[in-house]
């Protein structure tokens, strides 16, 4: 049953654009935003004159190395002389950007909104991973020198232990997503690989190997979002934003059951309720769960209630989540295959569902008919869940 939300208007996505995702691009952050925005506007057949408001999103300023990065790249995103805002929930930002754009439009405040996410990780030296050294509590955690891979190694181990999954079962996600990305023209890490390739890749922190992880990337993505009346004037095939959800779990990762992402489930319930979806495993046709690590896709599939807890890894083995399977996940190639410019990666997932629901995904188009799709991202101190449900 749909929740009785007091929104002024339905809201749709009417155009999308993205840059290449690469380890180091020549473009500045504002030029990346500019390229994505120009594509999205062209796809919608609009110019900046037609845009009322801008919502931008980037993850920590420390990646790009420009404080107030949202403001810095705003003019590339068309953000001058108009209402502009920036949202930030770490890795969850990419899906929070269209959620914020949705409320800009659904409130009736803005008729058309550009949703722009950008990330340029390459400037940070010696390696952007060091930026993550500053997400920890400065008194109780940072002196111990944790890094993200340590924590995710423990979480992956917990999932394996609780769910009975083996390394080779989880590696299938990397094989699937990197293979899917071969058909994505913007992909950075597309490859035809085998489970053995994943298992034999460099062991970083057991049980995490090099090919279990998405790459460091630069890139940007933009969407054009419009209220119903305008959306119908712009296109015959608007893709409706039917549900949005977002949640923060508790700050300390060690106070959670690491085998199950409650932060995703809560956000998903909120979005499904708004979209009137009661049985997501039956009603969702295509999904883009956040996959910075291969086990995280399994985690998030379960959090999105597209599989029962601890059962996603079994379904991956059966091909259930393949592009021609029962419920295709990450048909784009995901972060593992297309790349992971943090905020832009999440918005890339929303753009992919948009293209899938318009039957414009080309070689990536899933085989089954599609009516509803879900995209999700995850971030902050690993406790943010952001979910968006789209329908055609």
């Amino acid at each position: 049953m749909r929740v009785n939300l007091h929104v002024k208007d339905r809201v749709a996505i009417v155009g999308a654009g993205m840059t290449l995702f690469r380890r180091r691009l020549l473009e500045t952050p504002r030029e990346l935003a500019w390229e994505a925005v120009r594509q999205a506007l062209d796809e919608a057949g609009l110019t900046l004159r037609d845009i009322d408001c801008i919502v931008t999103g980037t993850a920590p300023d420390a990646f790009d190395g420009v404080h107030f990065n949202g403001e810095y790249l705003a003019d590339g995103a068309g953000g001058f002389g108009k209402p502009v805002s920036r949202v930030y929930v770490g890795g969850g930002t990419g899906v929070m950007v269209p959620i914020a754009a949705w409320w800009h439009a659904a409130s009736g405040h803005c008729d058309t909104v550009l949703a722009v996410a950008e990330e340029k990780m390459s400037p940070a030296m010696p390696h952007p991973q060091y930026v993550f050294a500053y997400i920890w509590d400065p008194i109780l955690e940072r002196p111990l020198g944790p890094n993200l891979i340590w924590i995710f190694a423990m979480e992956m181990r917990r999932y394996m232990y609780k769910c009975g999954a083996k390394k080779e079962d989880i590696a299938l996600v990397s094989v699937k997503n990197k293979g899917n990305a071969l058909d994505h023209p913007a992909a950075q890490a597309a490859a035809k690989i085998t489970v053995e390739d994943v298992l034999n890749s460099e062991l970083l922190v057991w049980p995490v190997n090099r090919l279990d992880i998405s790459p460091v990337s630069d890139g940007a993505v933009a969407l054009v979002i419009a209220r119903e009346k305008t959306a119908r004037r712009i296109t015959d095939s608007p893709v409706w934003i039917e549900g949005v959800g977002f949640t923060l779990d508790n700050t300390h990762w060690y106070n959670r059951e690491l085998a199950y992402p409650r932060y995703v489930q809560y956000a998903a319930r909120m979005a499904y309720r708004m979209a009137g979806i009661e049985r997501p495993w039956k009603e969702i046709d295509v999904a883009e769960p956040y996959d910075p690590f291969d086990y995280k896709e399994l985690h998030h599939i379960e959090g999105l209630m597209l599989a029962r807890p601890c059962e996603a890894w079994k379904l991956v083995k059966e091909g259930y989540f393949d592009r021609d399977g029962e419920l295709p996940t990450s048909p784009s190639g995901g972060l593992l295959g297309v790349g992971n410019p943090i905020a832009a990666a999440g918005l890339m997932k929303v753009a992919e569902i948009f293209w899938q629901l318009r039957y414009e995904a080309g070689k990536r188009q899933v085989r089954k008919p599609v009516h509803k799709g879900v995209a999700q991202a995850w971030g902050d101190l690993m406790q943010a869940g952001t979910v968006i449900v789209l329908g055609n």
Partner: protein
């Protein structure tokens, strides 16, 4: 709330931090390369959006299509549109010589550059004409700092 005065290195209750990202390498951007070439050649870069000159160059124009601009040499005349005088450094230490800082634009242009004007504070005023003085060719790197300073031009 409480007032905590002790934050001296060596205190028992003290939590030092350090920045592990020790430096950044910024890319020049699509049109930054051409701007760098101009600077290295002792020329001031700008951008043409149609007939409108815009400083500094940054690839896209502020128009409704965000169209692509063309990086060009700006010959001037240059004008110090806004002027101020720096008397202390970041640490509050008095400068031996006050430094004149200006926002410098070109005639008919939108935007401009920040630059040091080599002149005594009493001699500068908004609207005065200036010209760039570049570092010697062998010292130039293609950066904005290739302009060593700006100097007044006699009317």
């Amino acid at each position: 709330m409480s007032w905590w005065k002790r934050a001296l290195p060596g205190d028992l209750v003290h939590f030092p931090g350090s920045q592990e990202v020790d430096h950044y390498l910024y890319t020049p951007g699509l049109h930054g390369l051409k701007a760098a070439e101009l600077l290295k050649a002792g020329k001031v870069p700008g951008m043409l959006c149609g007939d409108q000159l815009i400083l500094p160059p940054k690839t896209f124009c502020p128009d409704e299509r965000l169209s692509e601009g063309e990086v060009v040499e700006v010959e001037g005349p240059f004008i110090a549109a806004l002027v101020t005088v720096i008397r202390e450094d970041f640490y509050g230490r008095k400068l031996e010589e006050p430094q004149v800082l200006a926002f410098i634009t070109a005639q008919g242009a939108i935007g401009g550059y920040i630059g040091v004007v080599k002149a005594s504070p009493g001699d500068v005023y908004p609207g005065m004409r200036v010209r760039p003085v570049f570092r010697p060719e062998e010292e130039r790197t293609g950066a904005i700092t290739d302009i060593a300073f700006w100097e007044p031009v006699a009317d």
